[in-house]
């Protein structure tokens, strides 16, 4: 795929490093145990800084979704119509990624689990598949 947009890795570097090993990790507070996303320098519940990047179950349910019909990115020209879904993970946070299924099969509450697509040597993208 040419000209494919890649993540701009910033304070989420541990997330992408884990993804390249096909592990789905997010920040978990060392004080109260809250799992948070997007990344934050402090716990969004108790403001503690201590945390670790804990491996999650990768399971969740579709909360909402969209289907792109217009081509906004050259790299996705052959993919339209393609979906992007917000998945509410078992651990609480919501993560936005495609679900590998027929667009018409998507529904709210649909159980899904994470899979990884290797895009480059460094980047693997978490996606979901129906469970």
């Amino acid at each position: 795929m040419t000209n494919r947009p890649l993540p701009q890795i910033d304070d989420d570097a541990p997330f992408w490093n884990a993804a390249s090993d096909h592990e789905f990790r997010m920040q978990q507070c060392g004080e109260c145990g809250h799992v948070r996303w997007p990344p934050s320098p402090v716990c969004t519940e108790c403001w503690a800084e201590e945390h670790e990047w804990t491996e999650l179950s990768g399971r969740g349910e579709v909360n909402t979704w969209v289907v792109f019909h217009r081509v906004y990115f050259d790299a996705f020209a052959d993919d339209v119509p393609y979906n992007v879904a917000e998945v509410e993970l078992e651990e609480g946070p919501r993560y936005l990624a495609p679900v590998e299924c027929d667009n018409d099969d998507l529904y709210r509450g649909m159980p899904v689990s994470v899979v990884f697509e290797d895009v480059t040597d460094e980047v693997s993208l978490p996606k979901f598949e129906p469970k």
Binding site: D11, P38, T64, V66, Y72, F73, Y82, V84, N103, R108
Partner: protein, 391 residues
Amino acid sequence: MSYDQNPVLIGAGTTAEFGVFPDRTILGLAAEALKDALDDAGLDRHELDGLVTNMGSPLSRHYDRICEALDLDIEFSAQYWAHGRWASSCVQHAAMAVEAGLADYVAVGLGLKFNAVSQFGGNERASLSEIGSISEHSERPWYGMTAPVGGNALATRYYMEKYGATSEDLAHISKTFRDHAALHPRSHFADPITIEEHQESQYIVDPLRLYDCAPLTDGGAYVIVTTAENAESLPNEPAHIAGMEGLSAGRNNHLFARPGMGIRTQEEYEYDASVTDPIYERAGVTRDDIDALFTYDAFTPNVWYALERWGFCDPGTAFEFARDGNIGLDGELPMNTHGGLLSNGHITAWNHFVEMYDQLRGKAGDRQLDGADTMQYATPFGDSIILRTRP
């Protein structure tokens, strides 16, 4: 309560047309609109000492280039970020400036060429730093997810699934605002559309169709803010800035969903619109006093979110209210009487402020609402201004 200096709008102006103008420059559009606004206010450009704008390059031009090119001598200037959503924040900033004595006459608005960007939200934006790993519109370029239409569509699907609203309900909003735009001589799109045409129009990002999305418009618009005392020596009747509410932010806020809906980082909870009571208390009015409501209708569902956020409809009922004729000129609560961003033109809500002022001084032509003396601008993002014919 009222503000000590009684900040007011005293003039408003726009370019003669809103549309797509490949041969015109942004500075040229800004000059035309500002001249129109100053003429309307009865002011000379040398009397202008303040300038506030919601965006600079690339869609507009930075404040200093505007001042240099138009030979303005400005002592108070402020420029917001490169987004449309800051219009009322700019008016509020100007009101605070005149309230604090930092300026006497502040021009607020911009010249704008949305079509200077070939395709909004695509590859050329994927490299912008604002589209970092996680952005407020839910951009995820690596998943083919762009902004802002993608983020809006996410909230729209959620709302539809939760409350049973449909794309056809949105069609009534598109049609109503198009009907309003047909009564405005400067509209970008003035041809009527039918519910069927909306329903047959292509999906951009399902559940949003072509007619759910505002066009990319070129044009310009400014309003002039001053104090009630300064306004006494000028020809126009002023519109008083009676109440203001700032732009909200935080984990329970989403640009395209009222609080409590439960998308992105929002908690899902029973939203209580009484949290927006303070602006009505400041303005000395109730919601029943609002003669028309104006919202940032970059996408049709913003009408739902604004109606519910500001307490005109209970959560989950705005889609029926908007569908059933209540937001038309003859309705219970007329909205975007000029046609809004969706049809009058995407002038990032400056045309909304021009229209509110025109309605309040009886200059809205065929769109004029009888006896209108109180107008509210209020967005799904949480910012608002109430304008009145008297303090």
